[in-house]
């Protein structure tokens, strides 16, 4: 019964707009679309063009057309493959942790308890912090000499002494995932909480009458209801994961060694340190394609059952 209600709710369609209304809407949004084209489409196209050229460092003109040479350089470099692997591991961790943590926060804050309003307000704080600030906060929090995390772990008796999380390649990557996910989870929680608040109580009541327990209601009522929001959250998380730069750079600069050198850091180094615009652009195109493919696969997987 609950599932039937969800499906009928999702099938309800808004009446089609008249042609005149659509034209009017288009006119109203035209300035914003033109601005978007300037800020997003033009740089994206230029990056694609640059990736096939031997671009002079000024970047004013694309330079000589060299076909796929920049891509051959990228794919022939072990630095790229190592960085790609780090990016994939980081992204998987980031998407899973930030989505699950965000869902957990949202479920918790959807319940009635004293102080809920304050906690909901607090949720905005990490989200309102710039990524760079988050990176600096986490670098100090996990510091091997004076970090709060080490103090906490020692007080709880979980460690004997201070641990340098950022000097170990494996723990540095884990900390980078947690630090970045902490902010993104708050953003995910805000979206998911908004989704949860539109969930009609009757659905859960009907599911309870049908004999569903808390887990059953979560699986068969809450998750299906949240699916559109979850899809948005996951796709955004994937994009943020692939584009993540500031938090990692502030914490480790991609180190120790190349342990946390995700593709965005490699692009930065290539574009702004080595000033190799052609190769840097090729890397940027590859990263964009990766995040696009990741997002599309996710959407497809999430909506597979509705086909």
């Amino acid at each position: 019964m609950a599932l039937t209600l969800i499906r009928s709710a999702s099938r309800a369609k808004v009446s089609p707009m008249s042609r005149a209304d659509r034209q009017f809407g288009l006119r109203l949004s035209a300035p914003a679309l033109a601005l978007l084209a300037m800020l997003l489409v033009v740089p994206a196209v230029l990056t694609l063009v640059y990736s096939f050229h031997d671009v002079p460092p000024t970047g004013i003109a694309p330079g000589e057309f060299i076909g796929l040479t920049n891509y051959e350089t990228v794919f022939g470099s072990p630095v790229f493959w190592s960085s790609l692997w780090v990016t994939i591991v980081f992204s998987l961790g980031f998407v899973v942790v930030s989505t699950c943590l965000g869902l957990g926060f949202a479920l918790l804050l959807n319940e009635a308890f004293p102080g809920r309003g304050i906690l909901r307000g607090l949720l905005v704080i990490p989200w309102a912090c710039p990524w760079l600030v988050i990176g600096i906060i986490w670098r100090w929090f996990v510091d091997g000499s004076v970090g709060g995390l080490n103090g906490l772990l020692m007080h709880l008796g979980l460690t004997d002494g201070y641990i340098d999380f950022l000097s170990n390649p494996r723990s540095a990557l884990i900390i980078a995932v947690i630090g970045a996910s902490w902010r993104q989870a708050c953003f995910a929680a805000i979206l998911l909480l908004a989704g949860l608040q539109t969930l009609p109580k009757e659905l859960n009541e009907a599911a309870a009458i049908d004999g569903a327990g808390p887990l059953g209601r979560f699986r068969h009522v809450t998750i299906p209801w949240l699916r559109p929001v979850l899809a948005t959250v996951i796709v955004l998380n994937i994009i943020y994961a692939f584009l993540q730069f500031d938090v990692i750079f502030a914490m480790t600069q991609g180190g120790p060694g190349d342990a946390t050198q995700v593709l965005s850091i490699l692009i930065y180094r290539q574009l702004f340190v080595a000033t190799d615009i052609g190769t840097g652009s090729a890397l940027a195109v590859i990263l964009a394609l990766l995040s696009l493919v990741g997002g599309l696969i996710t959407v497809r997987l999430l909506y597979r059952n509705e086909a």
Binding site: F24, S145, T252, F272
Partner: protein
């Protein structure tokens, strides 16, 4: 009302968006045409720097602006990401008349026509003659092209805790790698957990590498800019020493990501006794007012007395208007050399607030400069180090060099973490330098 409006089809819309896109694509070029290269000038200069004491920067520039009746628009960017910020602005055609630059980018900016050579400007030869000969190659290329003026300079020196060293039974600071190891080991045995701190974060490893090579008497690159450090066995020795300092716990494992602020605190609080870095960190450590701050002093990195001289620069943007260029040059002279009265006004201010140095041969003779440095600075030693004991390594200015610079941290971290031997690291660094010089690649 809506129905009566003129038809607005998808084609019309797409045409509009397309035009906007084309306009956006050509706007940087248009901006460049109408910006700094324009022969007309509205009488205002643009100045860009990073955020080291922004209020002081604004005050200093404002003082010049008032005295010369030339309005200056000062734009301050965060130090982190400054290189990207200024390159983006210049690439977009934003006219900046005078700007801070990292010296390793200065030659490249000239090549890219983002900065103007300063030859033939009034007084520039006097300024060059006034520089320490050791400093000159940073600002004057081998072919005589003057590419920048100093923003500040510094030399790498050993900062050591005199009380701790003497209490441990040593008569003075260590004079070589073995002595540093021995002193650090004894201090550790006496309870100081990590006596040695080093700035081994990725982006600084290249600078550190050169400091230690120079201080051991190794010439890292020849006059053609080819890496020759592998030819000297002392290079492997330096890396063996680095590895043992890290592996044996004489340096904290966190030094791979620690920033200098934290390392200065370690010294001030008495949690470390040795730190090789820019001389002006002594000001930072002393001003932290920690229990051990008064016991910190300078010493040479090693008995050879040789070290690396570093510094960042001021450059002039591409300016075609002669009046504008003349005014920009006046501002540069004031900011990077002397004011119209022949005083190091700006450089004295930086010496007072941060211990920075103007690399001029008469800088340390100026009474105002002497008064600006706190008593704990040994100005004779500092002056001698600038005069004859330091090297700017001109190769570090070359446009390909930053591609090598960004690789050094990866290899040094691998060495410190025990994933590569010193010999393998030397080979990897040589290969990286050769590849960077050749161009291309990741």
């Amino acid at each position: 009302m809506v129905g009566e409006s003129a038809p607005f089809g998808r084609r019309t819309f797409l045409r509009g968006v397309g035009s906007a896109g084309i306009l956006a694509a050509i706007s940087p070029a248009l901006a460049a045409c109408g910006g700094s290269s324009s022969s007309t000038w509205d009488g205002k200069l643009n100045f860009m720097g990073w955020d080291h004491q922004p209020e002081v920067i604004k005050r200093l520039v404002s003082s010049w602006s008032t005295a010369n009746n030339v309005p200056v628009d000062v734009s301050i960017s965060p130090n982190v990401g400054y290189a990207a910020a200024i390159q983006t602005r210049l690439r977009g055609g934003d006219p900046i008349d005078v700007f801070y630059n990292h010296s390793y980018n200065s030659e490249r900016f000239i090549k890219q026509d983002w900065a103007t050579p300063l030859n033939d400007l009034p007084g520039v030869d006097d300024m060059v003659a006034n520089l320490y000969p050791s400093a000159r190659p940073r600002y004057v290329q081998a072919d005589g092209k003057i590419i920048s003026v100093p923003y500040y300079s510094a030399v790498h020196l050993m900062h050591y805790n005199k009380r701790m060293v003497e209490d441990a039974g040593f008569s003075g600071p260590p004079k070589n790698l073995d002595e540093t190891y021995a002193q650090a080991q004894k201090l550790k045995a006496g309870g100081l957990e990590t006596p040695y701190v080093a700035y081994w974060i990725k982006e600084f490893c290249e600078e550190y590498f050169n400091v230690y090579l120079l201080s051991e008497g190794v010439i890292p690159f020849d006059d053609q800019g080819d890496p020759v450090f592998a030819d000297d066995p002392k290079t492997v020795r330096v890396l063996e020493w680095w590895q043992s300092m890290y592996r044996d716990g004489l340096a904290a494992s966190s030094v791979l990501t620690d920033d200098p602020g934290k390392l200065s605190t370690e010294l001030a609080q008495g949690r470390a006794a040795f730190f090789v870095l820019h001389h002006y960190f002594l000001t930072a450590v002393r001003e932290l007012n920690g229990p051990e701050s008064p016991n910190l002093f300078h010493a040479p990195v090693s008995a050879t007395g040789e070290t690396l001289q570093i510094g960042d620069v001021l450059q002039m943007g591409t300016i075609t208007n002669e009046d504008r260029k003349a005014r920009a040059w006046d501002l540069m002279k004031y900011y990077g050399w002397k004011d119209v009265d022949g005083k190091f006004t700006v450089l004295t201010e930086w010496a007072k607030s941060s211990g920075l140095v103007g690399p001029y041969s008469d800088f340390f003779d100026d009474p105002a400069v002497i008064a600006a440095f706190p008593d704990y600075y040994d100005l004779k030693f500092l002056s001698a180090t600038f005069g004859t004991g330091s090297n700017v390594m001109p190769v570090r200015n070359q446009s390909w060099y930053s591609a090598f610079q960004m690789k050094v941290g990866d290899h040094v971290h691998n060495l410190l973490l025990g994933n590569a031997t010193p010999t393998e690291t030397v080979k990897a660094l040589t290969d990286a330098a050769k590849a960077a010089k050749k161009g291309g690649g990741l």
